[in-house]
Symmetry: C2
Subunit: 328 residues, 2 copies
């Protein structure tokens, strides 16, 4: 038997050591004090084994995925991470040493992305390893977060990185995909297991994006949210999607090219940023992406009307799409 | 299949309707803006079926327990609730209508205790109904929260309400207790299912308590934390424990009176406030309790040294105690 406070002292207190407001994780609460002039936002995303990660994934990787899916939300709003809280549901009877691995994963990512633990809770669950994280971020734009609602007709739509890799990685993990080289399969699986949140691009989002969000439930579903909240329609060109070499090989082998592109644009877990920006910002955005060491790609534009059209190289709409990740 | 955003719109958006910073629950984040002059704290506690509540408990009761275990932390620090975030792990395949009941429970408690939903996440779990809640509160003391660390030698120890009821309620729910009248059994079970957080006493805590915490893992274990963090020892008198009539009947029937009192003082889930205050504050505390419609009871005092002594009517230490709730 291990007491919760022993776990906290051993594994979690070091993650809070540089945050005086965490009160050493020895009290019931933490203080929450945004410094004067900082405009804070908060998000809370959860993961559960067998749905968002594989039972075989090591706990440190799960911790980093949990941290990063939350960080992805913060970055997409043009903000940087500050502090976080954690709720850990650890399977009853599973070796407590795994919690040490989980904490080591958090230590790695909080050092890389600049955040400290403020508090939380850990409970023994009669079920799958699950966790939720509450992440606080500071906006880089004085007016606050870049929401989903600010796009205007004529704005161009962009996305960071590549699309569909995590979707293919999950297929590979499930043994439902073949035809990939060993290197491609390893690359795609890694993209599923560990998102690469575009934190380095948050300042560019804060400066130039009119509307922005992170892609977690599929590019098309999420861009549909952006269009609806902005009160306009969107066109996305299937042939403009940025694809990794591995994803491009999947499309090249597919019997129906449009359906393959639609599958990549509907799969979940990309954790890239989709955003709308005026045409004149494009050179600055490209320069900012280069400085951040990432790529951005123009994938479409905002139009009058409502709804999202996903169109092929002939301008014809691609229909009968997978609607994106279904939560329930 | 139900999309997460349909669930949000139907069940959760009404809980956020009066909080503009929630952005209608239609974005990835919420804004977090403590009003000027407010000193905020945050806590995050989690519950899971079969450990913290019964599989037969209706979802609205679970929601209220979740809200209240967090509120209990906030109240014990001398603060009032402001906003909260939610992570809901809903069993895959269980009827989604139960989420409506869960949201109805939150609606009831947020109205009673004055808080609004800011955001969160809901996922389908291959396991038991679980949830975590992140609650923000505003301190009623300008210097911030009343911590566990401020007690001084000579301070008296008090507790709100009665002790051990929820512990007995859990025994009854498990069919491990007998000898109670139907009315007593109903009362004790209700005390396990639905804590009564002492929010109305938070202002008195802020004003007079030197150290304070909520009792979730057993009075003795939690008072031990208070003593250790304050750098002193504590004496608690078994015969001074405030008992409900139902708990008193349990003690009266027990073959070993001291062991019965120790069991009540070691059981979990009281969600009362234990606090240390100087002797001269007692009349004011009693008056504040009367105004709040609750009782407080002096149970012991802070002494030089370290460790907690639980003593019987002859001043002899009661040993071989259950150490309190073991999390892992």
């Amino acid at each position: 038997m291990t007491q919760e406070f022993e776990l906290i002292a051993r594994y979690f207190a070091p993650l809070a050591a540089s945050a005086p407001d965490a009160l050493g994780l020895r009290d019931d609460v933490a203080r929450l004090r945004p410094p004067a002039g900082e405009n804070w936002i908060v998000t809370k995303d959860a993961l559960t084994e067998g749905v968002h990660f594989l039972a075989s994934d090591p706990p440190d990787l799960v911790a980093r995925k949990l941290f990063r899916v939350n960080l992805s939300d913060i970055a997409a709003k043009g903000a940087v991470a500050r502090h976080y809280l954690l709720a850990l549901f650890w399977p009853r009877g599973r070796a407590v040493a795994g919690i040490g691995s989980f904490a080591a994963g958090l230590a790695m990512d909080q050092a890389e992305f600049g955040a400290t633990l403020l508090g939380g809770d850990s409970v023994a669950i009669r079920g799958p390893f699950s966790a939720s994280l509450t992440l606080f971020g500071a906006c880089l734009r004085p007016e606050g977060p870049v929401t989903r609602a600010g796009a205007r007709v004529g704005d161009l739509l962009y996305v960071t990185g590549t699309i569909g890799d995590a979707f293919l990685g999950l297929q590979i993990a499930r043994g439902e995909a073949d035809g990939f080289s060993r290197d491609d399969a390893d690359y795609l699986l890694a993209r599923y297991q560990l998102p690469l949140p575009r934190a380095a691009f948050a300042s560019a989002i804060a400066r130039w994006a009119k509307a922005s969000l992170d892609i977690s439930d599929g590019l098309l579903q999420d861009c549909g949210h952006l269009a609806r909240e902005s009160g306009l329609g969107a066109e996305i060109h299937a042939e403009w999607l940025p694809l990794s070499a591995a994803a491009a090989s999947f499309v090249a082998r597919a019997p129906d090219r449009s359906a393959a592109l639609a599958a990549l644009a509907s799969g979940g877990d990309d954790y890239e940023i989709a955003f709308a920006a005026p045409r004149e910002a494009e050179p600055s955005l490209i320069e900012a992406a280069r400085a951040a060491g990432i790529t951005i790609t123009r994938i479409g534009r905002c139009v009058l009307g409502a709804g999202l059209r996903f169109i092929d190289r002939d301008g014809k709409e691609i229909t009968s799409l997978n609607p994106g990740f279904q939560h329930f």
